[in-house]
Amino acid sequence: MRRLAPMLLAALAVLAAACEKKTQPAPSGEGGAQTAQQAQPAPGGETPAGSDVILLGQVGALTGGQATFGISTRNGIEMAIKEANAAGGVKGKKLAIRVYDNQSKPEEAAQAATRLITQDKVVLILGDVASSNSLAMAEKAQAAGVPMITPSSTNTTVTQKGDFIFRVCFIDPFQGYVMAKFARENLKLGKVAVLQDNKSAYSIDLSDVFTRKFTEMGGKVATTESYSQGDTDYRAQLTAIRKTQPEGIYVPGYYSEVGIIARQAREVGLKVPLMGGDGWDSEKLFELGGTAIQGSYFSNHYSPDNPDPRVQKFISEYKAAYGGVPDALAALGYDAARVAIEALKRAKDLSGPAVRDAIAQTKDFPGVAGTITLDDKRNAVKSAVVLKVGDGKTEYVTTVNP
């Protein structure tokens, strides 16, 4: 112990000295973000030009807690690439994709993204579903100047990471707007109540926007009650809501709570429809909600019942290739890959900035999950669908345009 003290002191002293040394590498770590943007595209543009294959990269959760998300997305992307190759590829070259698993962990996502960028030298990255993983990848892609498109991360912060990061889905607040518009214009509701999940940023975002928009459109939000994820008894809040006699209740939560809320709402005598967001989208909703949830509405990215021939063609082809009806994630993966392929076709070369500019110009792109136009914040301005909960399945009601 007596030996340890001077040793540690010496170590600290040297450490302080070492800080001086760090001054050179440190700027190249952060300031390098800017220099890399100019430096990176050169090799990025040259390497694929030399071969006859354009390599894209995907990072997705193929294992771990969100495995089905990653696999659906991968299937969608794979389908888009096969189609593009069958149609002759891009700029006379075939497309190929390299998929890495991130085990649903952000540090693995960052590692895989770094590998795609520096080792495989992909021209573009697709992925991931979970916003935290996409955030980790976005940081790396932005620093290296490689464009990235996330198919289905709805958290607003993802595309704020920089000008190389895009998404083809709407952002969380948009769903609040969609439901407000639908409730006001289609359901002709005048007075509604809001029941939000205080533990989830997603739920609070949605309910804030819903309240603002619904009031702007001339409706009235009678009361806003809140619960916490994991609660099982909502009777107190529901009784308070019943007193205001609303014509509908907005519950932007997850299916696990919404199912129980629906049952208890009927118990306390609330017969009005519930409304929600894509957090409802699960088979479990029917099981938990039973008959109580039937006749309620929620906004989603896409509906397999959409009669649009484009959607039906996608579904039948997907069924033939992978079996089963594609979920929203597969549709968004498909759309993301097609937006990327279109951009590659339009880009003047395959360097990072050129591809980025081409993606940014995406306008009125006919996607399976809605028409995609990218705004100046690199978010998709697109339509959402409203679904009605039926007996064990959802019914397509309408499409709401922004």
């Binding site: 170590a11 935290s132 955030l135």
Partner: protein
Amino acid sequence: METPALPVPEARSAIPPALRGILPVLVALPVLALFQWVTNESPFAVYLLSVMGVNIILAVSLNIVNGMTGQFSIGHAGFMAVGAYISGVMSLNLKEVALSFLPVAASDQVLFTLALLVGGLAAAACGFLVGLPSLRLRGDYLAIVTLGFGEIIRVVVQNTDAFGRALGLSGIPQYSSPYMIYFWVFLTVLVARRIAGSSHGRSLWAIREDEVAAEAMGVDTTGYKVRSFVISSFFAGIAGGLFAHFVPIINPGSFTFVKSMEIVVMVVLGGLGSTTGAIVAAIFLTLLPEGLRSAFNLLGTESTLAQKVDQIRMPIYGLLLVVLMLSRPQGLFGTRELWDVLPRWIPRRRRGLS
């Protein structure tokens, strides 16, 4: 790769006593500088080396408790999380602050070091709180308490706004460099080896072999156990802090029970009680998944097999672990160190330290 990290207290008599303490530091620093210079060009190599360094710190520090003292802690990721979040939040808040008398980059590093130390000390404090009551007990109780602690930390983080809740903490300045990380690797290894060779370490070995006998011989078993636990937690906190400063986002999902088990696997694979074993196992287990990925990429970009196979990487990894443990149940090195198992023609160090 582990050479720069190894302590080099070879020249016992040739070195004046005053220099002995800092000699390893003097040797390691130029090596680390070279290391930094070599890896500067490839971001992927830097990332992989950073992960590896953090894993080495975790494995070596856990080895002090699980290997040397013979206690079974399975909550190491919890202490890592404490360090990661405390130092991460501190760096986030100090992002705009700079010490006026230093250039910006240097002051960043000073503040980073400060944040690391605060994170490490917080983890050590948690280690003390968890260890003091539970280390009075024997056997499996510690395992259960540490497991519980890890889960508590995760749930607390998940529900605290300041820690970014389930989405995690992003935008932490990326201060970690291989130089910094491997400096801490070096410190950790140095401390672990010095403990192993000291009378303190002798007491730990005694506790590991037979706690009753050790107590009968006058060893303050609880005191020694708590001390080794606190030291181990401190370095886990440091590892967490380093981790938070090179991974773009930290979220509770990164510090689950699975992460703790990964570290335990490294220690067991390397051989319980062998510091160099823990290092070798940490390096091996970090590189293995990426190595498998490279192997699958050789199958070609076009082949759908290579795509599908990225999913079965982890089962293969698990299978390799099973095979290794079946063929060498005592771990790679047992309780011995790297130099004890080297071929005969390489000159050995004296068997002075363990």
